[in-house]
């Protein structure tokens, strides 16, 4: 496979995973903002998914419509859904001969949907959840078509590498930002706070089934970082990342392969052989920061060894 093609598939996939994360986060936080007696703050969301400076973020943190507009359709925001989908489509466009026609059309439709001014006007006026649902569904269509139509070859491996790398970083980020919002105070037991966090990553039901004793910050950390059955957990994502990377093993590229296999394996062991106790001992922030740095290193190594073509 061409290095350029692998690069484009990898980024297309990362962008779609990011889009899914952002849209779910927006939907649930919007619901939460309607449910909050006090002043609901969008700050954690803005911190996780945008590059806004402290002051600007504070400026819009209490204005739901402004945040939604900024994160969905703002052209100046490089991480807005509009811009991410545009990039994803550009990537897909340049590798149309490597993805199925259905997948291309789905992404192309997604692009035209997000650019439909009438639709996104709802973000300002009507019920934004309706609009977010339309967009989330378009994303789900992508994931379904990917699963059903794409050949299980090298391209599929790169797509899944991108997807799970993005997801691992995202989940680590979400936990880190949420707790920094509380100044790493692990005693907060406010049910709504944890409920909405878990809902935003589709982990609420699983939490209820796993932990019978109500909400506890440590349990939340355990589920999002260490629960191998939870598809949004860090351990699950790193596991998958490793599994799909190993499919790239070939005689022709042994040196590069070994280097990256080592990096991913190391990260995976680090997460796998952690407990909530050991994480607390190290300090949650320092632990998550370490994991994220490891993942960035994997990304850079992929770039250098598999995607270099210019």
């Amino acid at each position: 496979m061409l290095s350029r093609v692998a690069d484009s598939l990898y980024w297309m996939s990362r962008y779609l995973e990011r889009t899914d994360g952002i849209l779910r986060m927006l939907k649930i936080n919007y619901a939460s903002s309607q449910d909050d007696i006090g002043e609901f703050s969008w700050k954690p969301v803005l911190k996780t998914f945008t590059y806004l400076d402290e002051e600007t973020a504070n400026g819009i943190a209490h204005h739901s419509r402004a945040v939604l507009q900024y994160m969905v359709t703002d052209k100046e925001n490089s991480n807005s859904v509009l811009n991410i989908i545009t990039h994803a489509r550009e990537n897909a466009r340049s590798v149309q001969d490597h993805i199925t026609k259905e997948l291309w059309q789905c992404l192309n439709d997604f692009y035209h949907t997000i650019r439909d001014e009438q639709l996104v006007r709802g973000i300002h006026k009507d019920d934004p959840v309706t609009i977010l649902d339309v967009l989330i569904k378009q994303g789900l269509l992508y994931f379904g078509i990917m699963d059903i139509t794409m050949a299980r070859g090298e391209g599929y491996a790169f797509i899944n590498i991108g997807k799970h790398l993005e997801r691992a970083v995202q989940s680590a980020d979400i936990v880190d930002v949420k707790f920094s919002d509380l100044n790493y105070d692990f005693t907060k037991t406010d049910t709504t706070y944890w409920k909405y966090l878990l809902l935003s990553i589709s982990g609420y039901e699983l939490y209820l089934k796993t932990y019978r004793s109500g909400f506890d910050a440590k349990n939340v950390i355990e589920q999002i970082v260490l629960n191998g059955d939870f598809p949004r957990s860090v351990i699950y994502s790193v596991d998958r990342l490793h599994r799909y990377f190993q499919r790239l093993k070939s005689e022709r590229n042994m040196d590069s392969y070994r280097k990256i296999d080592f990096l991913i394996g190391k990260t995976r062991s680090k997460v796998k052989y952690s407990t909530v106790g050991s994480i607390m001992e190290q300090g949650l922030h320092s632990y998550l920061k370490g994991i994220k740095e490891d993942l960035y290193e994997v990304g850079n190594a992929l770039n250098l060894n598999y995607f270099a073509y210019t």
Binding site: L2, S3, T310
Partner: protein, 482 residues
């Protein structure tokens, strides 16, 4: 009845061949389509038109226009009424194109090797050497199977008595074939059952034939040669076509930056190292192909690719230097080539063409400017053209001044009226002028022409210019089985 409403405003221009109507009645080949349209209401037809637009958009059969830093997606206008060619018309066209291509291919081989045709004075030597697309760099270079033109898109028009004329031979990187394929797919969607009922021949073989021909050109004797389609990239207006062809043939779509030349061999950069490339179907023009030999500023090509080509380590399709054969001034000599190389009379006629480099012909043209279309010999896409009947005196004068600066670069042709065909426009059928571009593929097994092609249509009333850059659209093109 609906039909009369649909048809009653259909007035064929005087002195024009109409594809659907004779003086009084609908031609037999169009009867099926007309009957079908009769059963539909205007609303239904409008919905069909809307559906066609939506299908083009959602499949990304678009080109992007960039304005104020933002890309706007556009579709090439598509008219829902097919253009229909009868079996006997097609047989004639097919034979004519086959004959013409045979001669053009022999001309290219000759002009880049022994040059018999120049020595015998059939084509003037200065005509060839003054052509900007004549490449001295490839003189004496052998090409696989002596084939220079692997893919040709030859433009045909019909004058007022229905005679077909060759307007242009496109022998370099003719485009539009994806529209031949996609327009058909759209028709299948908007008019269910209409195609099988009308006995329309299929066009889907095109990518398979092309792929088979490309495989046969591989310099390496290997069961599975690496074939690539070289595109200028996603910003090219024909990018959709490049991806479609790559996908339909199952070959790699590459950009210049994906390729590298080492030791006179071309490689592509893959995730598992370099992989040798055997055949390149390039959609990049000659002058951008190798910055070391041609335009040094080109970012689209591959440095050193000419050295690999010269060594015969890679096949390039179409061959380099073909521009000398589809030059608009050389065009005049194609009938002579057919007589010279094949000892046959040309089946398809040329449009009479005046060389403005020739004083007598120039004077005649200048005296009759309002009946002439004047074109630059090395431009295409409808650029640099003057339609005498529609130009002001001042425009004509300014154009004449330009011509006198370098008369060799201009030719003139009497304005041919172009046949008209029905187009669906706001609930009515209206006649609009059309041309036809069938696609011919030459391989070691001979010349194959897929029964169909691209029908371009001048959507503006009264316009004779069908180029997409000048407000033209396209139609699905049916060739009926006998």
């Amino acid at each position: 009845m609906q039909t009369s409403e649909l048809l009653n405003s259909y007035h064929v221009d005087a002195n024009t061949w109409d594809e659907m109507y004779t003086d009084l009645s609908v031609r037999e080949q169009y009867q099926g389509v007309v009957d079908f349209m009769q059963q539909m209401s205007i609303d239904e037809l409008n919905r069909k038109e809307e559906l066609a637009k939506k299908l083009f958009m959602s499949q990304g059969i678009t080109f992007t226009v960039y304005s104020s830093g933002e890309g706007i997606e556009k579709i090439f206008p598509f008219d829902i009424i097919p253009r229909i060619i009868t079996a006997s018309e097609w047989k004639y066209i097919e034979e004519g194109i086959r004959q013409r291509l045979k001669a053009l291919n022999l001309f290219l081989k000759d002009v880049y090797n022994e040059q018999f045709i120049l020595k015998d004075g059939i084509v003037p030597t200065e005509m060839v050497y003054s052509c900007p697309h004549f490449l001295r760099e490839i003189h004496g270079l052998p090409v696989p199977h002596d084939i220079y033109v692997h893919i040709a898109g030859i433009d045909l028009i019909r004058n007022n008595d229905g005679t077909f004329y060759i307007l242009e031979d496109n022998l370099r990187t003719p485009s539009g074939v994806s529209y031949m394929l996609e327009n058909r797919e759209i028709t299948k969607r908007i008019f269910p059952d209409l195609i099988p009922k009308n006995n329309v021949r299929t066009v889907t073989e095109y990518p398979n034939i092309l792929h088979r021909n490309l495989v046969s050109l591989s310099p390496r004797q290997t069961a599975n040669p690496t074939i690539v389609l070289l595109t200028p990239g996603i910003y090219n207006s024909a990018y959709f076509e490049h991806t479609t062809l790559a996908r339909l043939m199952g070959v790699e779509l590459v950009e210049g930056r994906d390729l590298v030349v080492d030791n006179h061999r071309v490689y592509m950069k893959t995730t598992s190292g370099l992989q040798q490339v055997d055949v390149i179907y390039r959609r990049v023009d000659d002058e951008f192909l190798d910055p070391m030999v041609f335009n040094p500023d080109s970012m689209l090509g591959v440095a050193g690719i000419m050295s690999a080509y010269r060594k015969g380590n890679v096949a390039i399709v179409n061959a380099l230097g073909n521009g000398v054969a589809d030059d608009k001034a050389i065009y005049t000599y194609v009938p002579a080539m057919i007589r010279y190389y094949l000892n046959e009379e040309p089946i398809l006629k040329n449009v009479p063409t005046y060389q403005l480099g020739n004083v007598g012909e120039r004077e005649y043209v200048f005296g009759n400017m309002n009946k002439m279309v004047v074109k630059k010999t090395n431009e295409s896409g409808g650029y640099g053209m003057l339609m005498g009947h529609a130009a002001s005196e001042e425009e004509i004068f300014r154009y004449q001044v330009e011509i006198l600066k370098d008369p060799r670069q201009y030719i003139a042709q009497p304005i041919i009226s172009l046949s008209s065909a029905p187009c669906y426009m706001g609930g009515r059928l209206k006649p609009r002028r059309i041309d036809l571009r069938p696609y011919a593929l030459c391989g070691p097994g001979g010349i194959e022409i897929v029964p169909g092609g691209l029908t371009r249509v001048a959507l503006r009333e009264g316009s004779l210019v069908v180029n997409s850059s000048q407000g033209g659209g396209s139609k699905d093109t049916w060739v009926l089985a006998g």
